[in-house]
Symmetry: C2
Subunit: 303 residues, 2 copies
């Protein structure tokens, strides 16, 4: 029985550009839960993480909409863990017939307050805007904004995850056979003060990097990043475009991937494989079981 | 080493009428954490629950403020579990010097969809209003509103908690020495469908009743409800007003308490004591340790 850490991409919760609504989110999560339930039926143990970009941006907007200052991003991130994690646990429990125990856990992840990411906000959150609207919102609200594909979005700092504060508890739950949902939205970003106490920071950690760290710390057999693209491609958008199947970190290091699309996923996959010797898969939600069986998606494997 | 379940009243998070802001909430929670840390120093094991009335009301308002339908109350409740539970865990960890393991867990609590409470909304959530504003909001938004002291507030159904879905996981964590924060806001209200699956319901479970059920299921040695009143009083507001110290459920049954103030706390205390033979305490946050030592607050004890 292998342990699989699955990171659900944003599209498992909301399709790109789809407005955040409770019903749309639940419908999408129900579909995702069916794929995850199949992994349980196949006998894998599961730890599930998820993104929160559109949701954390929406809560920030809602918080500001009443003429107040929005709650800081660490607290908003924790809110999205509740908003998404609850529905994910419920739908996964509903989709998987045998009796099973679940735990959805708030997860703090330590970052370096000196991380250069704080000076260079890069992680898109919230809705998509036209360039003009984005620039207006940036000047009105003090946001940083940047292009994201053909749209513009708010961007926030995305520091590197260093340490998962709840890792021992997560490990204990996994060892006891509990299906764990954690590190939602890349975990709640916190920094350690000189006296050893912790404080939240205004950032959103990249979900794939946080999930890769989690998978490595748990010595997972496999780490799956599920998204709306079937595989990692070379020559994307050219006639020579080709899906990668089994590939080593060494081979990937010699290829170029656009940062912001597949770049972080490929990096997180290589980090996990180099650290653990396990397998990291990238592909669609529907293909989850087939990726583990080396029949679909891109599988990053040790040399 | 005794197991204590502590239910933090709303005033531990926000003083009555104080607007919900991230800083005010964190400052209040930091004070609460100091009292809870003392219980850990005294050698007790802790499970902590908390209210969410003002917060869940605020999130509902914010959700509606952008011209959209707010998320349903089960999802909003889960959001407040993240918003409050994260800060509570962090401040408790900061206030307690020894290394300790914490888990903040989303908690679903089953209710009966036929519970008569659904036809009689009674649980106040959100801000306080004048009667005129409350009536206007009721007609604009389809709310139920009711007087709460001298103010008016939105009220929502508050069905009786029947079963805690994550109870086995909570018990496992407690047995492993983990400090658990759970059942925030009275737990996320869900109903079981005829096919055995679960679905969220539009309600807010009373925190004290949910916490009492939790304490009984965990066979806790003590169940504390911490609020801004020093004890349960007889003859409240009369010259004969008198604080109750040690008192049995049988003696309490012969006294009258106003529903909505001390009524639910007294009921939850008696239910716990009758079911387990443990001790239930009611008093202020600052007195937590003294209540356990029978030096402060009201202690409901077996006959």
């Amino acid at each position: 029985m292998s342990l699989v850490v699955v990171a659900l991409g944003g599209n498992a919760l909301l399709r790109r550009g789809e407005p955040v609504s409770a019903q749309a989110q639940r419908d999408n999560i129900r579909l995702a839960a069916r794929s995850l339930a199949q992994l349980l039926v196949d006998g894998h143990r599961l730890v599930v993480t998820h993104g929160n970009g559109p949701q954390v941006g929406l809560l920030a907007l809602q918080g500001e909409s009443m003429g107040k200052r929005a709650f800081p991003l660490d607290v908003l991130g924790a809110e999205t863990d509740g908003m998404i994690g609850y529905v994910l646990q419920q739908e996964l429990d509903n989709a998987y017939e045998p009796a099973a125990r679940f735990a959805t856990l708030l997860t703090q992840i330590e970052v370096d307050p000196q991380d250069p990411a704080f000076a260079q906000p890069s992680k898109p959150v919230g809705s998509v805007y036209s360039e003009a609207d984005a620039q207006r919102l940036a000047s009105e609200r003090g946001w940083s904004v940047a292009p994201d594909g053909k749209d513009w979005r708010r961007v926030v700092p995305s520091p590197r995850p260093l340490r998962i504060l709840e890792i021992e508890v997560i490990r204990m739950l996994v060892e006891q056979g509990v299906i764990v949902i954690c590190a939602g939205g890349g975990g709640i970003p916190v920094a350690q003060r000189p006296d050893g106490t912790h404080v939240g920071v205004e950032a959103v950690i990249d979900k794939d990097h946080a999930s890769g760290l989690l998978a490595a710390e748990l010595k997972a057999d496999a780490f799956l990043m599920l998204t709306d693209v079937a595989a990692v491609f070379t020559g994307w958008g050219t006639p020579a475009q080709q899906a990668l199947g089994d590939v080593t970190p060494q081979a990937l290091a010699e290829m170029d991937f656009v940062a912001g699309s597949m770049g972080p996923k490929v990096q997180a996959a290589c980090d996990f494989v180099n650290r653990t010797g396990g397998m990291a898969g990238i592909g669609t939600l529907e293909d989850a079981a087939d990726i583990l069986a080396h029949r679909a998606g891109t599988r990053v494997i040790p040399a």
